[in-house]
Amino acid sequence: MSKTINGILIDDTFAEAFGMSGTGIIITADTMKWARIAAVTATGFGTSVIGCGAECGIDRELSPDETPDGRPGVRILMFGFSPDALVPQIKNRIGQCVLTSPGSACFSGLNAAEKIGLGKAPRFFGDGFQTAKKLGSSRYWRVPVMDGEFVIEEDTGITTEAVGGGNMLIVGKDRAGLLETTEAAVDAIAKIDDVITPFPGGIVRSGSKVGAKYKGMFASTNDAFCPTLRGSVKSELGPDTLSVLEIVIDGLTSKAVADAMRVGLKAVTDMGASKGVTRITAGNYGGKLGQHHYHLKDLI
């Protein structure tokens, strides 16, 4: 049964999410500015696994006390269909975006029993001048580069218990107010560990449905949630809706995704209807495709 909180209608529905493989990587640099630059570059073009090969984002910033080399760092997360699918993504993103970034170093950001190569491929950039240093159970590669040495840990952890596609759709009658409210939800979600919101600024304006009328298209616009098509298709939107924004959440665990959705929902309902938000709903495929169902009523 639907519920109304602070003037916002919460649909009695659920977000349907999928099992994924996920990994964490710590990127450090001489300053937080350069750690962030390397992290942003490495996670770029990482919104949807369908088109980008991986869903990537920044989990959180790390103080020098939290990194293996005592410098400021950023933890990024990457999600893919399988560990094998993440191998080329890690190789290319770290090789092209972190190895190249001034003063950077790269370490395991997930402690898990299963491992995936992190520096295994980028180390060959050293052309035989690379050397390894094993400390405890970790092996670090030192690759000579023009600003000194690029240090990269050989492996990082990987989990196949990750979840991709936790989501919430925020519906409003004022575009600016809706964006402001959704941003607040993304900011709240950013405080939860082990999750990312991989789309631009954490927000999707082009929610999709499965399939399309065109051959070769795996996904196409979610016409039922497009305000301008209201009246001409079987719309899910009321007459006053002007805009819908979606937040997609990937997490290393199902609990992290649920926690993220919970704080996201709270952020929206705390702001209330004053900014023009009218309703919160979620995307699903009838519960037949995804293993993970997050019912909105359980999270508010």
């Binding site: 240093k133 094993k134 400390l135």
Partner: protein
């Protein structure tokens, strides 16, 4: 201390081989079987019960109080638990050790930690020649684990060492890191003459070096991130036993160029 304690009754007149006295080996034996373990090295066939007063019960901790007797192979092939030697040990202590902690409250003889692959050895005093080194029949010296020496060490430490870390609070003898293939030797008191003879890879970190081989080359002054990573790792794993961090800039000396020259000696940059 708890656990089993082996206290010397009287000097037996011969060296002892105490390789059987490790926590995991003893855990599987009854008191009677422990007393019948052969630890002598002559045709007298001395047993543990002949030489030691044995007290306590089996646990993760074993203590040997050897007095003035030379005990070889202390902690040999240890794979867990703690072995405390309340005194000095002879040769081959920690030989092929795979895990656990060997706590030597005295000095150690030659070939300490040869073939060691895991665990931790702490010697409060000094150690002899060939620490962590290869012996005839082996392919490598130390291949893992950590050794901390409170005093000085003898010659040719780390001969054919491949992995692992050796911390020396004092100084090393001649030829530390001879034929080294990998790993780290950190000598807070500095290195004796000719460190890294024929070394291929690996890192020698120290406060100074008595004499460098002519086949080592100066690569200049650098702020190497790996030194900070090693320092932090050692601080985390060893606590107070960790060496004092090196200054931000170190002088990197590469060698031995008589081989592939991927090894390095790191000294505080002037």
């Amino acid at each position: 201390m708890g656990g089993l304690t082996f206290r010397l009754k009287a000097a037996p007149g011969e060296q002892l081989n105490v390789s059987a006295l490790t926590p995991s080996k003893l855990a599987q034996l009854s008191q009677h079987e422990i007393a019948r373990l052969h630890i002598g090295t002559s045709k007298q066939q001395l047993t543990a019960g002949d030489v030691f007063d044995i007290s306590g019960s089996a646990s993760d901790v074993v203590t040997i109080e050897p007095g003035d007797v030379v005990v070889d192979f202390a902690g040999s092939e240890m794979d867990g638990g703690t072995l405390i030697v309340d005194g000095s040990v002879g040769s081959y202590a920690g030989r092929k050790m795979r895990g656990g902690k060997l706590d030597i409250r005295g000095n150690a003889g030659n070939l300490l930690a040869s073939g060691m692959s895991g665990g931790m050895i702490h010697v409060t005093g000094s150690a002899g020649d060939n620490l962590g080194s290869v012996i005839a029949g082996d392919r490598f010296g130390m291949v893992g684990g950590t050794v901390v020496i409170g005093g000085d060490i003898g010659a040719r430490a780390g001969d054919k060492m491949r992995r692992g870390t050796v911390i020396v609070k004092g100084k090393t003898g001649q030829g530390a890191g001879t034929r080294m293939i990998g790993g780290t030797i950190w000598a807070e008191g500095g290195f004796g003459p000719d460190p890294g003879y024929m070394m291929r890879r690996g890192t020698l970190i120290g406060s100074k070096v008595e004499r460098l081989l002519p086949t080592f080359v100066d690569c200049g002054r650098h702020d190497l991130l790996i030194v900070r990573i090693v320092s932090r790792h050692l601080k985390t794993t060893l606590g107070e036993l960790a060496p004092k961090p090196m200054p931000l800039f170190v002088q990197k000396i590469a060698g031995d160029m008589a081989t592939i020259g991927r090894g390095e000696i790191l000294l505080p940059a002037g």
